[in-house]
């Protein structure tokens, strides 16, 4: 009898313990230590491998790539800077050249202007001289003509008067008497008829 009860108790215990276990596994599986060792083992293995591969193989490569890019960009920037400076220098040179040539052209212009002005003046002077001479010549000629004019006029007057008198009177009249009259008239009114 005692034996029978004993077995029944054990059976009940097992049954309930199983129930309890089932309830617990329905709780948090995280707290079930069945696979803890397995998880620790695989975590160590996997994470260790990951760390070693990353640190020895992959990360140095990425770091080198980044460094390389950085230095390359730096180099490019420096080169661009240098070229910029060069071009600035060239621009300055070019500006200088333009300024110089502008000055030169100005000088050249002024020089030629002066030269031509001088030439023009010289020619003008010579022309003026020529003109003056011509004028003087003409004036002397005119003076001569003017000087000789009264005599000629007197002569013509005498001749025409004698001719007119001859036609009027019909007789020859002494030229000397006519010329005396003309001379007398000329002396009286000469200024009136011949200008001056």
């Amino acid at each position: 009898m005692v034996k029978k009860y004993f077995f029944q108790l054990i059976f009940l215990y097992l049954f309930f313990s199983k129930e309890v276990f089932a309830a617990e596994s329905g709780g948090m599986p995280q707290l079930d230590p069945e696979f803890w060792v397995s998880q620790i083992f695989w975590l160590t293995l996997v994470f260790g491998t990951l760390y070693i591969v990353l640190s020895k193989l992959i990360l140095p490569k990425i770091s080198a790539n980044l460094e390389l890019r950085k230095s390359q960009i730096q180099e490019n920037i420096e080169a661009a800077d240098k070229q910029r400076k060069d071009s600035e220098l060239k621009l300055k040179e070019y500006d200088d050249i333009i300024l110089k040539s502008k000055l030169e052209s100005k000088n050249l212009f002024n020089e030629t202007r002066e030269k031509t002005l001088k030439n023009i003046n010289i020619k003008k002077d010579s022309l003026e001289k020529q003109i003056d001479e011509e004028i003087k010549k003409a004036e002397t000629e005119i003076e001569q003509l003017r000087k000789s004019a009264p005599e000629k006029i007197n002569k013509i007057a005498i001749e025409t008067s004698s001719e007119i008198l001859k036609n009027l009177i019909g007789t020859e009249i002494n030229n000397s008497s006519i010329s005396a009259i003309v001379d007398d008239l000329y002396r009286k009114n000469g200024g009136k008829y011949y200008g001056n």
Binding site: G27, P29, F35, V37, L54, L57, L66
Partner: protein
């Protein structure tokens, strides 16, 4: 489909049972997703590092942006002395990020939703940081627990608090990640279950929530990986540059 929302966290064996002594180290679904995440990281970053063109293509840009992102994060929080630990923090960040992100694909397993995984990572960081601290500063590292400028009267209390906060670092670090991932995935599962049980008539509201939650969870997946990495950097900073 209206199954227990916690069944998604169950670990089961894939393939044969492997035992070393009394320890069961069988390959499980958790192990599978650790391997998948790591392989994804390696493939992406290997492709990104392979070819170096002055104008990077998309995958190279991704790899280089991640590199500079983590590098900047480390130099901002832990300074230049933390450079030798860059590879570790980079792997840590990428591993947690990819595990979180793979968990967002339906029917996958979220590796980081298991306390044991996050705790092993956090404990490793804690022990490593403590060792680095003692190597760099000797017993002077204990000055970390004695902040300067504290009145003598308060000092015993402060030291006790500092020690407790230092010792609780691995727990807070691991529980933060684990709880975030577990809570998020459970919520998504619960709302998904509501969609099925309410059917075509009333299921639209939980469906909308489910869509919104997916977006939120993707944000959380990134954020928690970032927080995990940046806290590691901060702990490392304490060990490398003793400021107290």
């Amino acid at each position: 489909m209206a199954a227990n929302p916690m069944t998604q966290f169950e670990v089961y064996r894939i393939g044969p049972e492997i035992k070393i002594g009394t320890f069961d180290i069988s390959f499980t679904n958790a192990s599978l997703f650790m391997v998948v995440s790591s392989l994804a990281i390696l493939v992406i970053f290997n492709l990104g590092a392979k070819k170096n063109s002055l104008l990077p293509n998309k995958i190279q840009l991704l790899a280089e942006l991640s590199y500079t992102f983590v590098s900047k994060m480390i130099s901002d929080t832990a300074g230049s002395k933390a450079k030798p630990y860059f590879a570790f923090i980079f792997s840590l960040f990428m591993f947690v990020l990819f595990c979180n992100m793979f968990g967002m694909i339906p029917y996958t397993f979220t590796v980081t939703s298991h306390i044991i995984v996050t705790f092993v990572l956090a404990a490793f960081i804690f022990i490593g940081v403590t060792i680095i601290g003692f190597i760099k500063h000797g017993f002077g590292y204990l000055k970390l627990f004695v902040p300067s400028g504290v009145p003598i009267v308060l000092l015993p209390l402060i030291v006790v608090i500092e020690i407790i906060s230092y010792l609780s670092r691995p727990i807070s670090l691991s529980v933060r990640l684990f709880a975030n991932m577990m809570a998020g995935h459970t919520m998504m599962k619960v709302f998904g279950g509501f969609v099925i049980s309410l059917g075509i008539v009333g299921g639209w509201l939980p469906l909308t929530f489910s869509v919104a939650l997916t977006g939120l969870e993707i944000l959380v997946a990134f954020l928690q990986a970032y927080v995990f990495a940046i806290l590691t950097c901060i702990y490392l900073n304490d060990a490398l540059n003793l400021h107290h």
